[in-house]
């Protein structure tokens, strides 16, 4: 994008991220601007409001250092765009799509608006291709499918990065060697060490040349965080729907994104809602998370694996809550399991994959996969209930059957959830059947007689 018109000295007021100036040009709402201060730094922004005399610019990068007199505003006469070509793979960008790795500029074949247009629901194809991640608590219990948006709900200090890398490195369609995949990674306000962990892991597994990295580090401008996922998703959509690749997008940490949104909205004087977040947080997040899926007639797909840390481990906090209302399920990490030394510490009960039903069962994974996972869920939920009861009245206060469930719960966590190496779905299923054999048949109401004969009574 090249600026078309330059204006100097028209700024009348700067208030946090907002810059007010006299409207000397005929520009439109949401059009991009870049604002250069006397310090020489260039900041991106967009036109947030207009009236006959004035216009309001929302700066998407730090406004510190700007002055009224020497500020130069360049107008692009169109919304923010990102120039793209296959050359973005293997490259590292900053949070607003500028090359950061010292390499040459990326050739531009296409220019896409970073805040995309909503995909027509009619154009969407229903995602149904099961992805094997090698992780039992995911593959068996919360299966991921291509085109799904499945975030990881984590907490400070939990191994979400390791899990995300593991999924990214292992994810594959069963029985198929896919060469058409790509990874788009967006670090949003993450510490340098974390961004570096991802980069090194991708390098070690040899996928770095198929990855595009967008880095807004913890030390970078917080307002810029509103743009980072949009640049990353624009790149991902391009790779998926123009280049036909199966793209896995990792956005981390969405909590930082939401904090930045709260900061900007506070400065704009928006009416604060729950915990100070603006009322439009849901709609705003939807414009990011909904950029995933499959499209009729196009070969590529876009799968989102975002990471967010739940403030105070509270799943009811607006950030995880609103995310859960938009995404197609969630993988929840449990501090309790982590403390017990179980890796991956996936809390199976609060986790959910909504698209699992379309990706498993006869013809895709295994005819008995749905019943097995449903029965394991029912039994594990009973086990947790028994555990709660036992913690109050002691194990002696339990009935025999509850004690059996207690034992089931422990083995479920230690033998199924916990794992050191990747497992095939068949391995995971075999472990699952084995666990159910520890319960009386009368407890297995979710299995058919045939399944009991085949897997339990052997």
């Amino acid at each position: 994008m090249r600026p078309r018109l330059l204006v100097t000295g028209a700024a009348t007021r700067i208030d946090g991220p907002l810059l007010f100036m006299r409207r000397t040009l005929n520009v439109g709402l949401n059009h991009a601007v870049s604002v250069q201060g006397g310090d020489g730094k260039i900041r991106l922004g967009r036109i947030a409001a207009l009236d006959d005399e004035f216009l309001t610019i929302e700066l998407l990068e730090a406004s510190a250092g700007l002055a009224l007199a020497d500020t130069v505003v360049s107008f692009y006469l169109e919304p923010l765009h990102f120039g793209l070509s296959p050359g973005i793979l293997g490259r590292v960008f900053d949070g607003v799509g500028r090359v950061l790795d010292g390499g040459p500029p990326v050739a531009i074949h296409h220019n896409f608006r970073i805040d995309g247009l909503p995909l027509n629901p009619v154009a969407r194809a229903r995602p149904h291709d099961f992805i094997e991640t090698g992780i039992s608590a995911v593959d068996l219990m919360n299966s991921l499918v291509r085109g799904q948006k499945l975030p990881i709900f984590s907490g400070g200090g939990l191994p979400h990065d390791r899990l995300a890398v593991q999924i990214a490195n292992h994810a594959r369609l069963r029985g198929a060697e896919s060469r058409d995949f790509a990874i788009v990674f967006a670090g949003i306000g993450v510490p340098h060490a974390s961004a570096d962990y991802f980069r090194r892991s991708f390098e070690a597994s040899g996928v770095l040349e198929r990855a595009a990295l967008f880095l807004n580090l913890a030390s970078d401008s917080s307002t810029q965080r509103l743009l980072t996922p949009r640049f990353a998703l624009t790149a991902a959509e391009y790779l998926a729907f123009v280049e036909g690749k199966h793209v896995l997008v990792i956005l981390t940490d969405m909590t930082n994104y939401c904090e930045a949104l709260r900061e900007v909205s506070g400065a704009k004087g928006d009416v604060p809602g729950r915990k100070g977040f603006p009322g439009y947080l849901y709609s705003d997040l939807a414009t990011l998370y909904e950029r995933a899926g499959c499209v009729h007639g196009l070969p590529g797909t876009l799968t989102q694996l975002s990471i967010l840390t739940m403030p105070s481990d509270d799943i009811g906090h607006p950030i995880p809550d609103l995310t859960g209302y938009i995404t197609e399920g969630q993988i929840v990490l449990s501090r309790e399991l982590d403390r017990a030394g179980i890796y991956p510490p996936i809390g199976v009960l609060p986790s959910l994959s909504r698209l699992m039903k379309d990706g498993i069962g006869r013809g895709s994974t295994h005819a008995d996969h749905p019943s097995l996972s449903s029965q394991l869920y029912a039994a594990y939920a009973r086990a947790i209930q028994a555990r709660v009861l036992a913690s109050v009245v002691g194990e002696e206060g339990l009935l025999d059957i509850d004690r059996k469930y207690l034992a089931f719960g422990t083995s479920f966590e230690q033998d199924l959830v916990q794992q050191t190496a990747a497992r095939t779905l068949e391995d995971s299923m075999a472990i699952g059947w084995g666990l159910l054999r520890g319960l009386p048949i009368s407890e297995l109401a979710r299995l058919t007689d045939a399944q009991i004969a085949q897997y339990i009574e052997t």
């Binding site: 909503p118 194809a125 085109g147 928006d270 809602g273 809550d321 109050v392 009368s442």
Partner: protein, 600 residues
């Protein structure tokens, strides 16, 4: 038409200086692309409008053109079987994969028409002008618009015509002439008129046991489904769309996921209506305003949907309006209200939230139509309360309007116990009015030998109450067990816990993925309820004879009862009879065996 020029714009809200008269709620077109908007405020010479499409690029000076009409939609035979955006513009057949701003209303479609009126006849608003048949062979009625009346001067003969072609001409009372086509315009925020409200004594059968038998909703009733994320609201609404006993389904995805809409579009044409055997899509109208589509249109989509529902009701049909989710509608209301500086009240929502909710639910009813037939609109709507907390404004205001409240429970959902309807937090005020209807279902079944004939009509009421009491006792006993331990409960109470679990597993749980169980008709529901009740009575009797709770729990029949939903097909009365026999013999064996042991 009047014109105004933008003087201020921010997000979806603009202010414009009017150069002519505008009306509140008038539809407007903005700029070159003709973006659709609506006047929501008037201040002196200024109008404030909300725009239903992406406003990028708009600027001061841009023209806002009044349409002369209130925000409304075209109602006609082209609606069935298709998908539209929140303002009822077709979504299929667009040039790109994306929803571009400035889409226009579609061109006319052709249908075959057969008149039912003659020249010289006096036509009242809402009367049947003729019949229309669409490509799928479905017959619909063509109505005189409710706001028109007069003498038929000309009417076309049977034939194929465009849905916008004038079919008939009326001479109105003031001597003017008015043309009537297959489709007509109606403002979405205005309820369509009816002759009278009718009491409802008939249920909308949903095929879900926990709803029909425990928390039923009447035809023309209103039900809310609140629940935190992932508790099963959408799945439940989809299950209702697939199998409920309505003639027409209007499904509005309001601020929810694009993939869910794609799922419905993918599945419905392939699934058959359980009653007619025709593809489900043929009786369905889908309105989609997904979460990433413009916010203001989300607010309008609910009104478009209920207007469409009323239009089919006026043809003498029973319509189910499924809305997912009304919270997104309320949030859209809040977002727009905040934009133009209204003082927020509770939870940031505008002070008129509760009256808007009330107005919306008031449009659900069973009625005598203007044409004299019976029709209904049943509203079934989900609510997405923040953190799943039902004390928030949208849930609490809705609770005062609806008669059925189906609360989804996180604990049940986490155990993958579906539908996750919490039996103690949910209720149905319609249950009383529907008792007679259900009484007849029970009476029509081969009568239960244990129930005297004069009580057949009461059977449902009794069984239902019995189940609810049992579940209530379960909750109480579980609290107690947490203090004294489960093993310290007396055998009678342990049996209550066991039987309540059987009601849960064997009756309330219903798998949407099982081909047999995804739909459960009233008769099968009655047979299942009876089987479980019979078991409970036998178990209590056995306990009184000194048989232990463990021995009862270990009976073979328990598993049969827990699996009857999936194992016994819809019309298999014999299987229930067999079940009953095995139950009797296993109990008598158990009693005999225990007696023998005691003697030995």
């Amino acid at each position: 038409m009047s014109v105004a020029r933008i003087s201020w714009i921010s997000g979806p809200v603009l202010r414009a200086r009017a150069q002519g008269p505008f009306r509140l709620r008038e539809a407007v077109r903005v700029g070159e692309r003709g973006l659709l908007g609506e006047v929501i405020r008037m201040q002196g010479d200024d109008i404030v409008a909300q725009v239903y499409e992406d406003t990028t690029g708009l600027r001061p000076g841009v023209e806002v053109r009044g349409s002369g009409a209130l925000l409304g939609v075209m109602l006609g035979p082209a609606l069935l079987g298709r998908i539209f955006d929140g303002l009822l513009r077709p979504l299929a057949g667009t040039a790109t994969h994306y929803v571009e701003p400035g889409m226009r209303t579609e061109a006319s479609l052709e249908f075959s028409f057969r008149p039912r009126m003659r020249p010289g006849e006096h036509a009242k608003g809402g009367a049947v002008l003729g019949e229309v048949v669409n490509a799928a062979g479905i017959q619909q009625l063509c109505l005189i618009p409710p706001d028109a009346e007069g003498e038929v001067t000309t009417i076309l003969a049977a034939g194929r015509y465009g849905d916008d072609a004038p079919l008939c001409s009326l001479r109105t009372a003031d001597g003017a002439s008015r043309a009537v086509a297959m489709r007509h315009f109606w403002p979405v925020r205005e309820p369509r008129p009816i002759a009278e409200w009718l009491p409802s004594d008939e249920p909308l059968i949903t095929g879900q046991r926990v709803l029909d038998s425990i928390f039923p909703v009447a035809l023309g009733g209103k039900a809310a489904i609140p629940g935190g994320f992932g508790t099963g609201k959408t799945m439940l609404l989809e299950a209702l769309a697939k199998s409920c006993s309505a003639d027409v389904i209007v499904y509005v995805g309001c601020g929810e996921r694009g993939n869910e809409m794609a799922g419905v579009l993918d599945e419905f044409p392939r699934l058959a209506d359980p009653r007619s055997g025709r593809p489900l899509m043929e009786r369905t109208v889908i309105i989609a305003n997904t979460s990433n589509m413009p916010v203001a249109a989300r607010e309008a989509s609910i009104y478009s949907a209920i207007t469409v529902a009323e239009y089919f009701r006026d043809q003498g049909l029973h319509v189910a309006l499924l809305a997912d989710s009304t919270s997104r509608w309320a949030e859209a209301l809040r977002e727009v209200s905040v934009r133009f500086g209204e003082l927020p009240s509770e939870g940031g929502y505008p002070p008129y939230l509760s009256s808007r909710i009330a107005e919306f639910y008031e449009r659900a009813a069973k009625v005598r139509t203007l044409a004299g037939s019976t029709g209904s609109v049943t509203v079934l709507a989900s609510i997405s309360p923040p953190s799943g907390d039902f004390s928030e404004p949208v849930t609490s205001h809705t609770k005062r309007q609806v008669r059925s409240f189906w609360a989804l429970d996180v604990k049940r959902a986490q155990a993958r116990f579906y539908p996750a309807i919490h039996p103690l937090q949910s209720y149905s005020e319609d249950a009383l009015d529907l008792a007679a209807w259900w009484g007849k279902v029970y009476a029509d079944l081969a009568p239960d030998a244990d129930v005297p004939a004069n009580e057949w009509s009461e059977e449902w009421t009794k069984l239902r109450r019995r189940f609810l009491t049992l579940l209530d006792e379960q909750a109480r006993l579980e609290r107690m067990a947490r203090i004294i331990g489960k093993d310290a409960l007396p055998a009678r109470q342990q049996l209550i816990l066991f039987c309540a679990e059987l009601v849960n597993e064997g009756f309330l749980r219903q798998s949407a993925f099982s081909a047999t169980d995804r739909y459960c008709g009233p008769q099968r529901q009655a047979r299942m309820m009876r089987s479980i009740t019979r078991f409970i009575a036998a178990a209590e009797a056995a306990l009184a004879k000194g048989i232990s709770c463990e021995a009862i729990a270990a009976m073979q029949i328990v598993r049969r009862l827990e699996r009857m939903g999936e194992d016994i097909a819809e019309d298999d009365a014999q299987a229930f009879a067999d079940l009953s026999l095995s139950m009797e013999s296993e109990f008598s064996d158990l009693v005999a065996l225990t007696g023998a042991k005691r003697e030995a």
